[in-house]
């Protein structure tokens, strides 16, 4: 319960601009299976300030959705948070009771998913579903909750909201449903919105509408957004800070301009150069060779080494998490100007381990 009251109260005045709303430290979420332990999230750390947007980029299976579900404490069995802390304005969600989480979900943190049909109930009208969330969390009566629902539908740009509120999800188009889900997520004025591929299933014209909408709401409500996507265009458009994930680990983290101007990690560089861009005629696209490693059979040391054009012998020792520029950290052995590390490209394991410890920024 304390989590619920606290964040709302703080946001009313006390939560300063620039203070961390969410702080995830060394999060580890593992899935024990018959064939071994899948380390879906393995030592992930990041912060989000109120009113800011953190973009999380990565390919399917890199652990970005599991990170989100860990924060929401909605992991499916056998998934389990085995280490780390998730602090929502000082309140540790990892240790929270389920009853406390129920208060926090929807109230302080809302989540929207890629496919709206899976998160909307087909047998209730859109208005009912939003009103339910409102009355549950805000303690409003049915009539005022319904009115609030209609207002929310209006706010997310749905024309004729009073009529749409009486309709069922199947009567709406994909873009409309996505807006209904956003309206539902925002109806309780959450401090943090987790958006997991919110526009991936939508057409570009509708995507542009939804992104514009999210930007407006971010300004209006000083809401923090954790935006999970594989679309670097959406990241460039929306994010202030960016975290790049690969095989359960954060491989690079920095502000959005730096990531696009001077990416450091070879994976980030590969991603950025492999996408076709408008107005750029190229004969051939750069590729990242190979595929994401099997989570049950990860390479020793750097997880990207089998696909990396810079791979060196030292890469079989876990690389340091280096600060390669102010505010930019990269999980890689390469120096900031892409040279082999000072200890040499083929330093023995023990020396390499010491060097890694010395080069790493504190977790």
């Amino acid at each position: 319960m304390s989590g619920h009251v606290r964040v709302k109260d703080l946001r009313a005045g006390a939560l300063k601009e620039g203070a961390n709303l969410l702080s995830v430290q060394d999060l580890r979420t593992y899935f024990p299976t018959q064939d071994g332990v899948v380390k879906a999230v393995d030592g992930v750390s990041f912060e989000i300030e109120a009113g800011r947007t953190l973009g999380i980029v990565g390919e399917s299976g890199c652990g970005k959705s599991i990170t989100a579900l860990s924060i929401m404490r909605l992991l499916e069995k056998p998934g389990r948070i085995v280490a780390g802390s998730i602090s929502l304005d000082g309140f540790d969600l990892v240790k929270a009771e389920e009853s406390e989480m129920r208060q926090i979900r929807g109230n302080d943190i809302s989540m929207i998913f890629q496919e709206p049909m899976t998160s909307l109930n087909p047998v209730y009208t859109c208005g009912d579903q939003i009103a339910e969330a409102v009355s549950l969390h805000e303690g409003k009566g049915h009539r005022s909750a319904w009115e609030h629902a209609v207002k929310m539908l209006h706010d997310v740009g749905i024309p004729d909201p009073a009529r749409r509120a009486t309709q069922y999800p199947h009567e709406l188009s994909g873009g409309m449903r996505q807006r209904v889900m956003i309206a539902m997520a925002l109806s309780t004025d959450p401090a943090l919105l987790i958006a997991d591929e919110p526009t991936t299933a939508l057409d570009v014209t509708i995507q542009a509408q939804i992104l514009e909408l999210m930007k407006g709401l971010r300004e209006q409500n000083k809401m923090a957004i954790m935006l999970i996507t594989h679309d670097l265009g959406v990241i460039a458009e929306m994010a202030h800070e960016v975290v790049v994930m690969y095989a359960g680990k954060v491989v690079e983290r920095s502000d959005v301009n730096t990531i696009f101007d001077h990416p450091h990690h070879p994976y980030t560089r590969g991603l950025l150069s492999s996408i076709p861009r408008l107005g750029e005629k190229r004969k051939r696209l750069e590729v990242i060779k190979g595929v994401v490693p099997n989570p049950l059979n990860l390479p020793k040391g750097c997880l990207f080494q089998r696909r990396c054009p810079y791979a060196m012998p030292i890469c079989s020792t876990p690389p340091p998490f280096q600060e390669v520029a102010p505010g930019q950290v990269s999980l890689c052995w390469l120096t900031p100007d892409f040279k082999p590390p000072a200890v040499g490209a083929d330093a023995p394991a023990q020396i390499a381990e010491e060097a890694a410890a010395a080069l790493s920024v504190a977790k």
Binding site: V204, T205, Q207, H230, E237, G270, I275, G279, V287, V291
Partner: protein, 375 residues
């Protein structure tokens, strides 16, 4: 290749003037020609549910040509009819009217045997590599199925060809006995491509072939498609909604809206100077992977209208920014603009195509100034 053409009966209606294959390209006959293709899905209603109460106009009068060796990109929002058009071309769904000509021969009324021959030349790769491969068949069976159907009954011979195809699409030849679930999305799409190439086709419909794939895998598959085109002289119809991908792979691009082609031109021309307001809006909506170029976009209002009740006149008029800027001229709601040459072979279906470029620039300047003063 030439052997295949020899197998086609010589006495076709057009064979007097237009021969097949190589000769056809020299005489200018396109590989594929669509003539006013229409596909309506009937809506049944009434008391017994059998009365014909309306039509969903999925494809509503589409004509274009695809030349040998080129890639024609087909873009549009979901529900615009691009996938249906692909299926009509392959005769996977019957057309309501119109005709498709393959190397000059109309295919809609062909008998089964004749169509089977033509199908060898027309192949397709579908979007979802998880759904389009039978999970109970091995890679060898999946890729070799078409070969068996078309007479290659000897299993060793077939496996030999399958191995060759797997190598061609960058898969390990030893994978021939594996099942689809053992492969990643990108590898499955390669299996789908190998299957499409088994019969040595000339024309491949690629229906969103990379949109289900991860970013780093997309570029691998796009490069593969380009290489195969160069090596085998393939002709592609590339259906997609990602405008950057379409720009990368296409020679010419057609933009579809509510069942009609609204603009068609060479890729460079279309992307540099779009002449239909819908194309302008589509291009403006693409988020660019460059945080320093965040711009105030031209945002279309609302959703695509229902193809069961398309708007009167120009189908785009309900969402058109240009019409608004021009003070809502009446002609947009009354007359359906034809697809016409607006200069240099660029086709656009807009009454005011000549004003699009200037108005788009003015509109963008207006938005930018509002954007900046508002910040």
């Amino acid at each position: 290749m030439t052997e295949q053409f020899a197998a086609v009966p010589a006495a076709t209606p057009t064979s007097g003037t237009v021969a097949m294959g190589q000769v056809a390209t020299q005489t200018g006959e396109p590989l594929l020609r669509l003539d006013n293709v229409v596909k309506y899905f009937e809506i049944r209603g009434g008391l017994l549910g059998i009365a014909h109460v309306g039509d969903v106009r999925a494809v509503d009068g589409v004509s274009f040509e695809v030349r040998k060796g080129e890639t024609l990109g087909l873009v549009g929002e979901s529900g615009c009819g691009k996938t249906t058009l692909g299926k009509v071309i392959l005769r996977l769904t019957p057309a309501t009217s119109g005709e498709v000509y393959v190397k000059g021969r109309p295919i809609f009324k062909m008998g089964d045997r004749e169509m089977k021959e033509v199908r060898k030349d027309l192949q397709v790769v579908f979007q979802d590599p998880y759904a389009s491969l039978n999970p109970r068949m091995t890679v060898g069976e999946l890729v070799g199925e078409g070969l068996y159907v078309h007479g290659m009954k000897n299993k060793n011979e077939r496996d030999e060809r399958v191995r060759e195809l797997l190598a061609r699409v960058g898969l390990n030849q030893s994978h021939i006995h594996r099942y689809p679930h053992e492969f990643s999305g990108g590898q499955r799409q390669r299996i789908g491509i190998a299957r499409a190439l088994a019969l040595d086709p000339e024309f491949v419909v690629l229906d969103e072939p990379v949109s289900a794939l991860d970013v780093s895998i997309q570029s691998q598959v796009l490069n593969l498609l380009n290489d195969l085109q160069d090596q085998l002289g393939l002709t592609y119809l590339f259906i997609a909604h990602n405008l950057a991908v379409v720009e990368y792979i296409s020679d010419r691009v057609a933009v579809m809206y509510l069942g009609k082609i609204v603009e068609m031109a060479d890729v460079n021309v279309l992307y540099a100077t779009p002449r239909h307001p819908y194309t302008v809006a589509l291009l403006s909506a693409v988020p660019e992977p460059d945080p320093r170029r965040r711009k105030k976009r031209l945002i279309l209002k609302g959703d695509v209208p229902s193809p069961a009740k398309p708007p009167s006149g120009c189908r785009f008029h309900t969402r058109c920014w240009l019409r608004e800027r021009l003070g809502n001229p009446e002609v947009c709601t009354t007359d359906d603009p034809p697809l016409r040459d607006v200069g240099g072979g660029q086709l656009a279906a807009c009454h005011f195509a000549e004003q699009v470029t200037a108005q788009a620039a003015a509109d963008s300047a207006d938005r930018q100034s509002v954007f900046e003063s508002g910040e």
